[in-house]
Point group: D2
Chain length 277, copies 4
Amino acid sequence: MRILFLGDIVGRSGREGVLRHLPALLKDLALDFVIANGENAAGGFGITEKIAAEFFAAGVDCITTGNHVWDQRELVSQIDRMPNLLRPINYPEGTPGRGFAVLPSKDRRRKVLVMNAMARVFMDPLDDPFAAVERVLRVHRMGPGGVDAAVLDFHGEATSEKMIMGHVLDGRVSLVVGTHSHVPTADLQILNGGTAYQTDAGMCGDYDSVIGMKKDAAIHKLVRRLPGERFTPAENDATVTVCGLFVETDDRTGLAARVEPLRLGGRLKPAMPSAAA
Amino acid sequence: MRILFLGDIVGRSGREGVLRHLPALLKDLALDFVIANGENAAGGFGITEKIAAEFFAAGVDCITTGNHVWDQRELVSQIDRMPNLLRPINYPEGTPGRGFAVLPSKDRRRKVLVMNAMARVFMDPLDDPFAAVERVLRVHRMGPGGVDAAVLDFHGEATSEKMIMGHVLDGRVSLVVGTHSHVPTADLQILNGGTAYQTDAGMCGDYDSVIGMKKDAAIHKLVRRLPGERFTPAENDATVTVCGLFVETDDRTGLAARVEPLRLGGRLKPAMPSAAA
Amino acid sequence: MRILFLGDIVGRSGREGVLRHLPALLKDLALDFVIANGENAAGGFGITEKIAAEFFAAGVDCITTGNHVWDQRELVSQIDRMPNLLRPINYPEGTPGRGFAVLPSKDRRRKVLVMNAMARVFMDPLDDPFAAVERVLRVHRMGPGGVDAAVLDFHGEATSEKMIMGHVLDGRVSLVVGTHSHVPTADLQILNGGTAYQTDAGMCGDYDSVIGMKKDAAIHKLVRRLPGERFTPAENDATVTVCGLFVETDDRTGLAARVEPLRLGGRLKPAMPSAAA
Amino acid sequence: MRILFLGDIVGRSGREGVLRHLPALLKDLALDFVIANGENAAGGFGITEKIAAEFFAAGVDCITTGNHVWDQRELVSQIDRMPNLLRPINYPEGTPGRGFAVLPSKDRRRKVLVMNAMARVFMDPLDDPFAAVERVLRVHRMGPGGVDAAVLDFHGEATSEKMIMGHVLDGRVSLVVGTHSHVPTADLQILNGGTAYQTDAGMCGDYDSVIGMKKDAAIHKLVRRLPGERFTPAENDATVTVCGLFVETDDRTGLAARVEPLRLGGRLKPAMPSAAA
Ligand SMILES: [Fe+2]
Ligand SMILES: [Fe+2]
Ligand SMILES: [Fe+2]
Ligand SMILES: [Fe+2]
Ligand SMILES: [Fe+2]
Ligand SMILES: [Fe+2]
Ligand SMILES: [Fe+2]
Ligand SMILES: [Fe+2]
């Protein structure tokens, strides 16, 4: 199966970057499934039902999130009617929404397990993401009789914790990919057991910024330590890079057969997966 | 000037990877100056005078460090006689060693200012790195009459804080490069004002690991939350990648004219700077 | 029921302070049950089976712990045979030991539920302590037909999180008491629903110290930020204070009828519960 | 000299509690100087010029603050005309306001040095509070020819860091008192060198709350991890306790001769300093 994963989409410029590139990507890469992290899609903070609908209409099959999931509060009451939008699985029991879903591929013939979990080092105190993911995998195994591919968006800060998750799941899922740092890492690889891994997918947003937000307000707050303007997304379309990765899985095992970084537009070194293996 | 920067060198396998590749790099890239972060060179924890001497003999001109600088305690009494080995500048007044140095290029005709500072978000409480760097730059300006190039190794966790430092120094130094995450980022670029920037240079070490350390002990500690074996470096030479970046500066201004990632060996996507512009 | 709770016992001087005062306290206060936090009893770091045995022999009925529980590694293999020594309940599933126990009062006629949980703000990432405690209370209710008293040692840093736990359990347990800060708080009170509450019981140890440890090493590390001597307990018996609290519960409801602070010896303002209500 | 220190005043109920008790305290204790931490006086968040003026009119001689100092943004432009209102000294250079002041006693015949610093463990990254305080003390020594008394409000989270400050300044100031935790500690004492010390003065506010704020919103946020109502102060006058301490200094040395806790009203165990030594 041919899967595209896109990192945290930030603000209007990030959304438009994704929507502009997606049609060609769907066709050129013959994508079977598209996942995108949408936690910063609405003005940098959270996501709304309307924005999610735009992504789904454009060909995104599943939206993941992270610590910013509830920044647009109305999502709390909307999320239960959005089966393709995930919130981190390790929020307390009783939290609206769900942390994983088994969804059909575009040809409707295969099933993809998508999981979304939050790391804990330097992040909010949540339940054990390792245990939460194990519980899902006990029910939804990858391979014959189970799901055809499995992806975990592990939203976190510390590189060590993300790598540990990669190794713990190695051989049991197609892809473990980190989000949240808003910077793509250059460590995309296939681990020993066949699982694709990247510490962070990077953001879809303006890289002439501070993690997608306008520079001045961020500098003012961190360097001067004084109250200042609200943070708003940087929105120069010329410096927007759409960042993510492409993984082609083996349909018999679900494991990664090929993995390639994606970086389109803006100032980062371009990377476009090749259409054919 | 042609400058090579190498990220955190981890353990024996990281050291040997660097020493193996450096001779060819020095020649092929006609390097004028080499900086390497050595905070994890001694068994993953700190650095010794002996190890530093090996790097200097191999062509490293300046070693930077970070939060692990004092892991080998004897360095506290040795560092004052090692003018080319820096510790983060924002340690308390009276800390042995120094946080910046003006050092000659290999041809002895040009001067390079190297600064080493520690970020604070999710890190130890230290003095303001922004103010510390400003004080140095007030004395050692880059450009005619001042230094010919200036590099800051900004050792930190949060991508936002590193980007802020890049923008704050943009136009005034040749390069702001992050270390500490042990994962290379794919955001190497030249900022608006002419300063090269990369959120993290990545490590020189075994990437089939948890940030360079053996997997089992790290998994045991983080996932099971029980005491376990000491952390030791992963040392499979076949999966060691030497990570860093190459920046060519304009000799009139000191600003970056060309910047390219470096990733040699192991499992990460290879990247070798081209010899000629 | 008449219950004594003692805060973190630190090192030899803390242990001896407790052992010296306990005989008279047992008699004068006609205690039915004694709980002590022992996470720092062994040289300031953890506890051993032998030390625990001394406390049990002296009249302690249950020992609680905290983040230092595994500092003496042999406890990992010993704890399963020590039914009266608890580790925080919210460690990962599969962790040796247990996080709560229902234990007999000294007269063997009543049952006390003791729970030990770890807070998460500024602490290690563990599972939700609120959910963990709720699961216990669903099975072991306090009152007729259930346990006669219930106590939670909530080991944590942030005063806000501890207060929240107090209010969440108010009316359902006899006592919520914090540990870990090593400083007694002066906010002992009975909450609206009848639960006794104190943000921190304080330590049983030398208060001419830094949270029970020798001053010089602590100052060196925090102020100078250099490696130094190992931390060892301050052990001046003249400045040891035994800190805790006394709660008398209503035998029909298990709720707190009377609560009084205990501070014996050393330099803190003395406080001795009165024998009779 | 007879000095009263009051901990963080929270919201309307905290302000009114202080204003109600202060007239009698001034008279009964024959106070020479009054300090109060006002960082939460304005609706729980920050302080305004108007509120500060009320405190000054009621007999407060100096207001200290902490991490909430700028919550009411207009203070940024007002603070420079308020010589008796301090912000933590270790904010970046160029921050409006000042972190210490030498102020006259009520009889105008003696001088009191008041310092306000912020701790760093589990707090915002600021400059070294130990170094900052040393710089002040190098200029303003206590004793003959210098100031008659010296007080540090050390606003911080970790008990260890506060104790370290106490010991570091022991013998050189009259009082080191912590604020920020909003819970009074029962460890008020005179250290070996003659400096009075208390880990936290506690708040002046409603103790039937979560650190002075309404319970429901705090529980919702921490336990359920969902967005909820804004935090607002708990304002039941019946459960407001005014918390602080009284220190009588030796006029020849400035050191503490007598120290007593103060807790008035509400549900905490009452403590009223005796008028005469
Ligand atoms: Fe995030
Ligand atoms: Fe994000
Ligand atoms: Fe580091
Ligand atoms: Fe490192
Ligand atoms: Fe403790
Ligand atoms: Fe503890
Ligand atoms: Fe505060
Ligand atoms: Fe406060």
